[in-house]
Each structure stands twice: as structure tokens, then as C-alpha cells.
């Protein structure tokens, strides 16, 4: 674990990989250092943000160094079932890349347990990782200028659901009618770090 400077805005904690990042995030859920306003997990790091002038990032760094994250622990934020129409424009390409039939891709995607590791890209966009190591895909060589809201997509080891229509380079697997982001809802994001997700084929 390496604690890096972000001036007086907070500290960036670098860890060995996603599992360590999720374990650290779980430890921070239990014991958040004083004055930390936001915890932003990512693939290999966790950012702790503070209110400049109110908290000394050095004290936050010291508190992080005292944490003992337990390996394998993940923050648990409950479960979510996501119904999906598996008719994405890239389904055939995904199947070819994974060396499966299209039906096998659907079976594997619905059988796996996915966990939201972190959010980014857009409000409510969750990067979900699975317990199935076969899901590893490159991004499309050219990004689409418009991916519709509700698109279920794959890239790298991640699955995501586009919260709103936006440009995007991920491989489109299907679509869901579930509204994953709604500012009139509390919390607005269904896909929050630590949420466990099961995809189900929609009738």
C-alpha cells in the first residue's frame, strides 16, 4: 500500500489490485478517517477526499496506514436483480471473442455474480466485476457516438449499464428497462460500490 499526495485535497492510496482496493474500501466503510468527505474506489486505488483547510491530509494518510484491510473483504451494499434483453449489437462479436456461442454468453453472464467495484464515467455508471474469469474483452476499436440509456455492455473485466444516452466504446451485450439512475430517487444510483448484481434474461 502506497499513500500518494494530492496537495491539500486528500490522499490517493495505491494498492496491488482491485481485490485490495475493495478490501480497503470495506475497511474505510467501517472506520472512515476524520474529515474525509468522499471515498472514491477505482481499479487499483482508493481516493480519500477532504475539505481543504479543514482536515490535514497528512493525518488522513496516517489513519489509512493504521488500517488493516482484511483480504477478500468487500463492502456489501445489498443485492440487485437486473432484467436484460440480450440483443445487443455486439453480441456476435462478444461470443466470437470469448469462444462461446451467443447462448453460452447469455448463460455465463446470468450465472455469474457481479459486484459493483466503483463508479465513474457518468453519474450512476457502475463498473461491475464478476467471479467468472472468462469475461475479458477489449473495447471496440471505435467508440459509438451514441449508446442508448439502459445498454448493458462489456469491456475489460467489467460489465456496465449506461445510465443515460452517451458516447461509448464498450461492447453492447443487451439492454435493460431498469432505470439505474434517477435523481428523484434516494439514493439516485442503483449501482453503488458494493452492490451485488444478478443479471436475468428478460422475457
Amino acid at each position: 500500500m502506497r499513500v500518494l499526495n494530492c496537495a491539500d485535497w486528500g490522499v490517493l492510496v495505491e494498492v496491488g489490485g482491485l481485490d485490495e482496493a475493495l478490501a480497503l474500501q470495506a475497511a474505510l466503510e467501517e472506520r472512515r478517517p476524520d474529515g474525509v468527505t468522499d471515498v472514491v474506489p477505482a481499479a487499483r486505488t482508493v481516493l480519500l477526499r477532504v475539505e481543504p483547510g479543514r482536515t490535514d491530509p497528512a493525518a488522513v494518510a496516517e489513519a489509512v496506514r493504521r488500517l488493516r484491510p482484511r483480504p477478500g473483504r468487500r463492502a456489501d451494499a445489498g443485492e440487485l436483480e437486473v432484467p436484460v434483453h440480450y440483443d445487443g449489437a455486439d453480441l456476435a462479436d462478444i461470443a466470437a471473442h470469448l469462444g462461446m456461442s451467443e447462448r453460452e454468453v447469455v448463460a455465463a453472464h446470468t450465472a455469474a455474480t457481479w459486484t459493483v467495484a466503483f463508479c465513474g464515467f457518468a453519474p450512476g455508471f457502475g463498473y461491475m466485476v464478476s467471479d467468472d474469469p472468462r469475461f475479458r474483452l477489449p473495447r471496440r476499436s471505435e467508440a459509438r457516438t451514441r449508446v442508448p440509456a439502459g445498454a448493458v455492455a462489456l469491456a475489460g473485466e467489467f460489465t456496465g449499464v449506461y445510465p443515460r444516452s452517451s458516447p461509448g466504446g464498450w461492447q453492447l451485450l443487451g439492454r435493460t428497462e431498469l432505470v439505474v439512475w434517477d435523481t428523484d430517487r434516494d439514493p439516485p444510483a442503483l449501482l453503488r460500490p458494493g452492490v451485488r448484481v444478478r443479471f436475468r434474461e428478460a422475457p
Binding site: L4, N5, C6, A7, D8, W9, G10, L12, E14, T37, D38, V39, V40, P41, A42, A43, R44, T45, V46, L47, R49, E51, P52, G53, F118, C119, G120, F121, A122, P123, G124, F125, R164, T183, P187, P188, A189, R192, P193
Partner: protein
């Protein structure tokens, strides 16, 4: 209830407050007034509580009409101000009778002016904030000509000062303090020296997300791809083309290019006043 009617918005006017805290883990940035110091001063002049929503105006051009009597203060980039065509001053308390028109001309220095209205702009908050996040497309709608913005009830406190002294806003050259890291080790020692000794010019491709800078390229030592990681305002992110981006208030929550250094908070507010052409120097 009092309100202000927007007659003209200039290049860009948004409603901003102190920002949206505690949602970064959902991919939602802080947003809020880009020059937090000038914004806070505007609220202080009209005795608003901290965090009351005000208008952020880019390079002047705003025209408002008071609906009911309102008290306002204009701070930040010092622009010529008129009330019903008569000259008025920035950084002072201005009383607008019902129907009076406030107009902001183009500031001689700086980029963003703030118009605080006593009682605050009372549009509906989104996730606890009345700031428009231009990157995320979140927050109250951007005011258009014809928009009527409600003004909240006046606070109990009365304006205590008619005028407040503060450092000048905007300059042709700015010195900004930085702390190296978090990814300074992704760059050569020579690149770090260049960053700390060269001048970088703010380009026209700058907005609330970031000030895009032009200047000598910064050579990388590490050529791998950085997995996306959390970002803070003030980050000097170096994309592959080598031209730094100085992240401002609507910056993305995570980013995938290495950050060589971070501008300290107090200086990010000043940097938000750097108009295109401004020359920046970074110091430890």
C-alpha cells in the same frame, strides 16, 4: 416572493453554490462555484448564509430585472456594472427596486463574476446542491433569457460591510502553488523541472471542467496505461499529447491520465479566473 428575471445571459451563466459533497463514489463530482473565494465574498456582502446559490457569469453580459425589491452584490472578475443604466460598483451592496435592471459588462481582467442575491437563488436543489455540473449534466437547468429565478427569504443577518477589500482578481500572469504527485514518478526528472520553470498559456479550449494549457511537453518515464483513478480539483493531468489540463470544479470524478502535480486549493480558485491567454507558472 421576490425573483430575478433573466433578460440576457452573456457567454454563459449558471446557478452555483458550494457544490455537491459526498456523492463522488456514485460518479458525481463536487461542481459548485469555480472561484469559491469570490463566490463566498458575494454571499458575505449580502449577509447570506454560506452555501446560498448565486449566479456565475462568464465574461459578463448578464442582464437581470428585479421582480420585487432585491439586494445584490457582484464580485469576482471586476466588470462594469450598471443599475438602470447608471454606473454601480463591484464588491459592494446594491439595492435594486422592483423593476430595476442590473447589467454586467465585460470585465477588464478575470473570467468569472458572481452575482449573489440576498436570500439566495431558490431553484430546486438536485442531490442537495443548486450547482449545475456541466460535465455530468446534473443540477438546475442553465438559465435562459426569460427565465424567472425565485429568490429565497432574506436571512435574519443584515449586511455588515458596504465594501470588502480582497486581492485583485485575474491577471495576465499567475503564479500557482503546486504539490508534486500523485503520479510525478511517471514523468522524467527533466519534465518536473520543465513544469516548475516554464510558462503555460491558458487556451480557449477551457471551461468549468478544466483549463487546457499550452506549453512545453512533459516527457513521461512510464509509458504504460494508467488504470482510471480518483481525481481532485487542481490536478494537472497530462494526456498523451503532453498539453496539461488543470482540473477545475466540474472535472471528472475519475481519470485515466497521470497527474504530475496538484494545485493547492486556495490557488485553484484564482486559477478559475484565468482567461484564455493568461500565462501560468507553477511553484512548489
Amino acid at each position: 416572493m421576490a425573483a430575478v428575471e433573466v433578460l440576457r445571459t452573456g457567454m454563459g451563466t449558471t446557478v452555483q453554490d458550494a457544490g455537491r459533497h459526498g456523492h463522488a463514489h456514485l460518479g458525481i463530482g463536487r461542481s459548485g462555484a469555480a472561484d469559491a473565494a469570490s463566490y463566498a465574498l458575494a454571499n458575505r456582502l449580502v449577509a447570506n448564509p454560506d452555501g446560498a446559490a448565486a449566479l456565475e457569469v462568464v465574461l459578463g453580459g448578464l442582464r437581470l430585472r428585479a421582480r420585487g425589491a432585491v439586494t445584490v452584490a457582484v464580485t469576482g472578475a471586476p466588470c462594469p456594472v450598471t443599475v438602470d443604466g447608471r454606473g454601480a460598483a463591484v464588491d459592494t451592496v446594491l439595492h435594486l427596486p422592483d423593476g430595476a435592471e442590473l447589467e454586467l459588462g465585460i470585465p477588464a481582467t478575470g473570467l468569472r463574476s458572481y452575482v449573489a442575491v440576498r436570500g439566495g437563488i431558490d431553484v430546486a436543489p438536485v442531490l442537495g446542491s443548486r450547482s449545475t455540473d456541466t460535465l455530468a449534466g446534473l443540477g438546475p437547468p442553465v438559465p435562459r433569457p426569460g427565465a424567472v429565478l425565485p429568490v429565497g427569504p432574506p436571512p435574519r443577518a443584515l449586511p455588515a460591510a458596504d465594501w470588502v477589500a480582497h486581492p485583485p482578481v485575474g491577471a495576465a500572469r499567475m503564479d500557482l502553488r503546486v504539490v508534486l504527485g500523485p503520479r510525478a514518478d511517471w514523468f522524467t526528472d527533466a519534465a518536473v523541472e520543465v513544469l516548475l520553470h516554464a510558462e503555460y498559456e491558458v487556451t480557449a479550449r477551457s471551461d468549468r471542467v478544466g483549463a487546457r494549457l499550452a506549453g512545453p511537453a512533459l516527457e513521461r518515464r512510464e509509458h504504460g496505461e494508467l488504470p482510471s483513478e480518483g481525481m481532485v480539483p487542481g490536478s494537472l493531468q497530462i494526456p498523451p499529447d503532453g498539453d496539461p489540463v488543470l482540473f477545475l470544479t466540474d472535472h471528472p470524478v475519475t481519470g485515466g491520465y497521470p497527474v504530475i502535480a496538484v494545485v493547492v486549493a486556495a490557488d485553484v480558485a484564482r486559477a478559475a479566473q484565468a482567461r484564455p491567454g493568461t500565462r501560468l507558472r507553477f511553484h512548489l
